[in-house]
Structures are given as C-alpha cells and as structure tokens.
C-alpha cells in the first residue's frame, strides 16, 4: 500500500523537551485526515517537521515515497505539500490578487530578460496566473476584494484567502493548521463546505489540525490523536469518539 504522505516514528526534541515522540502518520491520496489533541500536544510541531520548518531529530517522512525529512521548506513546498498557519500569515500590505500571484511564483517565468521585454511566454504564464487567481478568488468568494490590501479584510476572509493562496500553488496535499480558529459558526460551516469541495472537486488530500470537534468529526475520514507528543489513538471519527483513552486525555479521569 503506498501512501501520499507517511511519517514513521517522528521525533522532535528541543533541548530536554521531547515535543514529538514517535508519531506515525499515514495519509492516502484524496483522504481528509485530522490531527487532534489537547493544547500543547505537539500538533503544530508535527506540521513544522513535515513542512521542513524544523529538521526532525529522528524518524522518516515520505512524500510520494521520497524521503523529505530535513529538506529546506521551499523545496518541500514545491513537491506539492503546502500549509496554512495557526495565525494567519498573509502578505498584509499587498493586495489580495498579489498574494495569489506571489504564491504562483514557481509556475511563472522569472527570467529577468523575458520579463523586461514581455516575451510571449512571459505574458502567457502571467495571464494563466491571473486566470488561476481569479478562479480561486471566486471559489472562496473574495472576487470583490481583489484590489483590497490583504491586511484590511476581516479575519474570516483572511483565512479563506490563505487557503486560496495555498491552492493556487497547485499542491497535492494541503495542510491546514486550525483553519476554524476565530471563525463564527456560519463561517465554520462555509469552511466545512470548502474543505469538502477541495476533496471532491479538486482531488485534494487534506491534513487538518483543528479544535472544533464538530468540524473534525464531520469531515474527517480518519483521525490521529496526539497527547504530550505521543500518539494516543487513531481511527475513524466514530472509533475516536468512543475511545476511553481519548476521553481521558480530554476530560480527565472520572
């Protein structure tokens, strides 16, 4: 069985602190997989290891069967694994469209001379990038804000723009770090719909960190539970909901 993303015995140590200890993840193509756990469990650290922001102390990460642990972040992203952040990280002083154009950097013609003389290939690629940006703006409902500075939008809109910005890079796996944090209930429902659409319409694989249990249970195919850096359980939403260890970790013992 081959997986799109595979993490085996992942370890991350900061000095004396074992932030992640022996976490295993297996994500198949076109799945929606969630990672949950109490605050400080090491979920974001796992994300940071997977996307090359940290170099894991131990373990193997395979993306499409290539080992990627310790690779620079931008190369991992180019392989098709992109992420959003727990705190929105947009290019705040740039316009919404520009945010989406920057994200397509590696698909554009970055040759200095062809840009200077606006060669045909340069213009074509630029045109395609605009089309792509336009498409995704419409998809996340931000078309009317295209010219607005990204930092001036509401929080929910910024969250959606961040997802759109990931999608225009044409990834294979999109990793969302608490996408529902700070959203109101209506926005959370919209987000739920958007993530489902990503999978069904765009053939996307999604790895999700989230605290909103309703959202997690609704859309996940499988769930990994992490507690204090260690894997606690994994399985379908129904299995997790009834797992005594998970209940204990979240609610304490009776």
């Amino acid at each position: 069985m081959s997986y799109l993303l595979e993490a085996i015995d992942l370890k991350m140590q900061f000095g004396g602190l074992m932030a992640v200890n022996g976490v295993n993840l297996h994500v198949k193509k076109n799945e929606i997989v969630s990672v949950i756990g109490p605050n400080g469990a090491g979920k974001t650290t796992v994300f940071n290891c997977l996307t090359g922001f940290y170099e894991p102390t131990g373990g193997v990460i395979k993306f499409e069967n290539d080992e990627v642990q310790g690779m620079p972040g931008h190369l991992i992203s180019r392989k098709g694994m992109v992420r959003t952040f727990q705190h929105v990280r947009l290019f705040k002083d740039m316009s919404v469209v520009e945010n989406l154009l920057v994200a397509q950097h590696r698909h554009l013609n970055t040759n200095f001379l062809s840009g200077l003389f606006k060669t045909k290939s340069y213009r074509d690629l630029e045109q395609k990038a605009f089309a792509q940006a336009k498409f995704w703006l419409e998809k996340v409902g931000l078309t009317e804000f295209a010219d607005r500075e990204a930092g001036n939008m509401s929080y929910g809109q910024q969250r959606r723009l961040e997802i759109a910005r990931c999608m225009v890079t044409q990834p294979k796996l999109i990793m969302l770090d608490e996408p529902a944090a700070g959203l109101n209930p209506t926005e959370t429902v919209e987000l739920n719909q958007l993530i489902s659409d990503l999978r069904s319409d765009f053939d996307m694989t999604v790895l999700l960190i989230e605290h909103d249990m309703k959202l997690v249970m609704d859309i996940s195919d499988r769930i990994y539970v992490v507690n204090q850096g260690m894997p606690l359980a994994n399985g379908t939403p129904a299995e997790i909901q009834n797992n005594p260890d998970v209940i204990k970790a979240y609610l304490g013992e009776e």
Binding site: T51, G52, F53, P72, G73, H74, L75, S77, R78, V82, R83, F85, R89, L90, F91, K92, D93, M94, S95, V97, E98, L101, V102, A103, Q104, H105, R106, L108, N109, T110, F112, G115, L116, E126, Q127, F130, A131, A133, K134, L137, T143, A146, D147, E149, R165, C166, T169
Partner: protein, 427 residues
C-alpha cells in the same frame, strides 16, 4: 493651573541657563602662564538670555503650538483627497509628456553651468535612490553600506580607463557587473541576518571598501584617488574642449556640428546622458517591480515564513534584490567617475550612504516618485542654499524629525499597482 504652567516652563529654561552659562558665558584666557577668568563678551550673554527666554516661551505655549501643528497636518499635509487627485494626475499621459519636455529643455531654462552641475548631481542621486529603494523599500533589507557598491562601480571604470584606456561605454557594463558581483558576494554571508544585524554588517562592508581604496595606494592611488578619467563619448565624438582620448583621428562634438566650445554645451550633453540613464533605471526597476521577482521581494519583506511555505527560495530572492540594487549603484558610480573626471575615497564616506537612505525613507519606501522627489529636495536644496552650509546638518536632522512625526510613510506612499482581473495590469 497657570502657576503650574509657568513653573514647568521656567524649570527647563533655568536648567538651560545654568548649563550654558559656564560653557559660553565665561571667558577663560591664559595670561602670563595664569588662567584669567572674565565674563564673556556681551553678545554671548545676550545669546544665553534670549535662548533662555525662547525656551520658556516655547514650553509655555507648547500646547497651542502643538494644536497649530496638528491643524496644519490635517488640513495641508495628509488629506486623502489630495492623494486621489495626485493619482488622477499621474494617470494622465499628457502630464508625463509635459514632465519629459520640461526635463529635456531644463538646461536651456537654467542658463548657468553651476545649476546644471546641481541638476546632474540630483540625477546621480536619483539613480542611487532608485537602486537602494529596491533593497530597502521593496525587499526590506536595511543596507547601510550602499555607497560601497557605488565606489566599486566608480573605481572600476576609473581604473579600467586609467590603466587600460578603456572608454566609458565599454567600461560601463563591466562596472555594473563588478558592482553586481560585489553585491552577490556580500549577499551570501549576510542573508541569514536581519534588521539591525544586517545593517551593521553592510555598514562594515561600506567602510571596508573605503578603507581598501584608501590603503591600496599602488593600485587606487590612495587618498589622492585617480585623476584624468575620460568623459563619455557620444557616438565616438568627444565632448571635451580639446581631443583627449584619440588625439590623432578623434573629433569633438563641437567640430562635428560646427559649434564653438562652451562649458555649458559640455554640461548639457552630460545632463542629457544622465537623464537618459535615469530614465533607463526607472524603466527597468519599474518593470522589475511588476515582475514575479518584484512581487517576491515584497512578499519576503512582508513575511519570510509564508514565502518559504509557498515554495519561494528566500536566498535567491534576497540575493537578486541585493544584486539589482548593487548594479544600479555601479551604474551610477561609473557615470559619477566619468563626470567628475577624478575620484577619491572622500566621495564614498558613510555620510553618502546615510543621504541615500534618507532619500529612500523620506521619499516613501518603495515609491519611485517619492524617491525622485526626495533626491531633489535633499541634493538640490543644500547646494542652492550654500550660505547656510553650516546649518545643513541641523536642517537635515530637523527635516527628518518633522517627517517622522507628520508623514512617517514618506512624501509619497507607495501605490500598489492596481490589477484588473481580466489579466491586464494597469499603470
């Protein structure tokens, strides 16, 4: 309440008098191996008194002064209505055409070679400002040693010309390449640094270049510099009074067109040359700003981590900004050397870097129009008001402080290129 105000105004003025009197009010002169102490001449004493009163008055009326300043600020300086009008004005091609016409007829309007000299200096600073604007304004890398690249460009042409008799037009690309290489090489080690650390390393680099030029006397002529650098030629025609480069077969531009030599004509030719070079820089950098690489510069300034997660190679993007900035400085440097005819390390002190940085910050980070405006203000004004030369730094400092209070975003705030979703990018 009123007593309180008088008291709080009195204290600073008394403190001033107390401090100033021993320093300025007492005259100490040696007489027969002894120190005689006497009261200073009356004008010093008057000065202390007047300054003391001025401080008192300023403190006393501070609030109403502040209110006036606030009023001026809201009504005159930062009204958004004005900005919109400016945008509209700039969108009109006729305005630009008029600008160009004025720029090209400028020397005819001036009529003196001194003011032309100032104009040429302004143009050089515009070039430098545009280059540094890429590094500081767009890519957000604080570079305090920018003058180092300027020096590399200038010395590269000067030495090529001095040792190998290579002409301006051949040496120009070499100078640009040399400065770009310097930028690239400096870029590698300093890319890991940010903010203050980067500023200090680049500051050191600028000083290293200057000290190298000073001490490699056998090659660079040391503090005396290099003299007798050739002026540029125009399509092979020389622009100096007598033939200098090719004494046997050459021809001056004046003989060719049947003019008599006049220093004014030579300056005009150089002015036009500088103008064309500025327009070239303006065009290239403006285009770069709208290219993927330009967007990546700004994105990197905004958020490095997000850039990394989107597959942008930070190293390459930062290096490109550094290199482009440096090559612009080299471009300006080569021109500077040929215009001056002689260069020495004196021209490349840290103060120059500070001025260029001030041009970028004062003009408005990232805004090309702002940079041009600030270059004019900061270069032409001190030259025109030579009498006030002693107070130049004072005015300079005051201007900076006032700007930081009133318009921290600079003269002209950078305008985002507005993009039509149908794929056309408008001006």
């Amino acid at each position: 309440m009123k007593m309180n105000r008088i008291l709080s105004s009195l204290v600073p003025s008394l403190v001033f008098v107390f401090l100033a009197f021993p320093l300025l009010g007492i005259d100490m002169s040696p007489k027969d191996l002894k120190l005689t102490i006497s009261l200073a001449p009356s004008n010093s004493l008057t000065f202390i008194l007047v300054a003391g009163i001025a401080i008192f008055l300023f403190q006393y009326f501070r609030f109403s002064l502040m209110n006036t300043a606030e009023f001026v600020k809201t009504t005159v300086l930062s009204s958004s209505v004005k900005n919109i009008e400016l945008d509209k004005l700039l969108a009109n091609y006729w305005v630009w055409a008029a600008f160009l016409v004025i720029l090209f007829t400028w020397p005819l309007l001036l009529g003196s070679s001194t003011s032309l000299d100032i104009s040429i200096k302004v143009l050089i600073y515009v070039m430098l400002g545009l280059g540094l604007n890429v590094v500081v304004g767009l890519a957000g890398l604080l570079d305090l040693g920018y003058v180092g690249f300027y020096a590399v460009g200038a010395y590269c042409y000067a030495m090529l010309n001095f040792y190998f008799d290579i002409g301006f037009w051949v040496a120009l690309p070499v100078s640009v390449a040399a400065a770009a290489t310097a930028g690239f090489l400096l870029g590698f080690p300093v890319l890991r640094l940010r903010g203050d650390y980067l500023a200090i390393v680049t500051l050191g680099f600028g000083e290293i270049i200057r000290i190298l030029l000073n001490n490699l006397s056998s090659i660079t002529g040391g503090p005396n510099g290099i003299n007798g650098i050739d002026k540029p030629t125009i399509f092979g025609l020389e622009i100096t009074k007598r033939l200098k480069i090719d004494k046997e077969h050459g021809q001056t531009i004046y003989d060719y067109f049947g003019f008599d030599y006049d220093r004014m004509y030579m300056m005009m030719v150089i002015y036009f040359l500088a103008l064309i070079m500025v327009l070239f820089c303006l065009f290239v950098i403006n285009r770069l700003q709208r290219m993927p690489i330009g967007r990546a510069w700004e994105a990197l300034r905004e958020d490095e981590i997000a850039c990394r997660s989107l597959g942008i190679n930070r190293t390459a993007v930062k290096l490109s900004a550094f290199t482009i900035g440096a090559s612009t400085a080299g471009f300006a440097g080569a021109f500077f050397a040929s215009y001056q005819g002689s260069i020495s390390p004196e021209s490349f002190i840290f103060f120059e870097s500070a001025i260029i940085l001030a041009i970028v910050v004062l003009g408005g980070m990232g805004s090309q129009l702002g940079v041009i405006l600030a270059a004019i203000v900061l270069t032409a004004l001190p030259e025109m008001a030579r009498e006030f030369n002693d107070y130049r730094m004072l005015v300079f400092g005051a201007l900076m402080v006032l700007m930081m209070i009133w318009r921290p975003q600079g003269f002209i705030q950078m305008k985002r290129p507005s993009i039509d979703l149908n794929g056309e990018s408008k001006a």
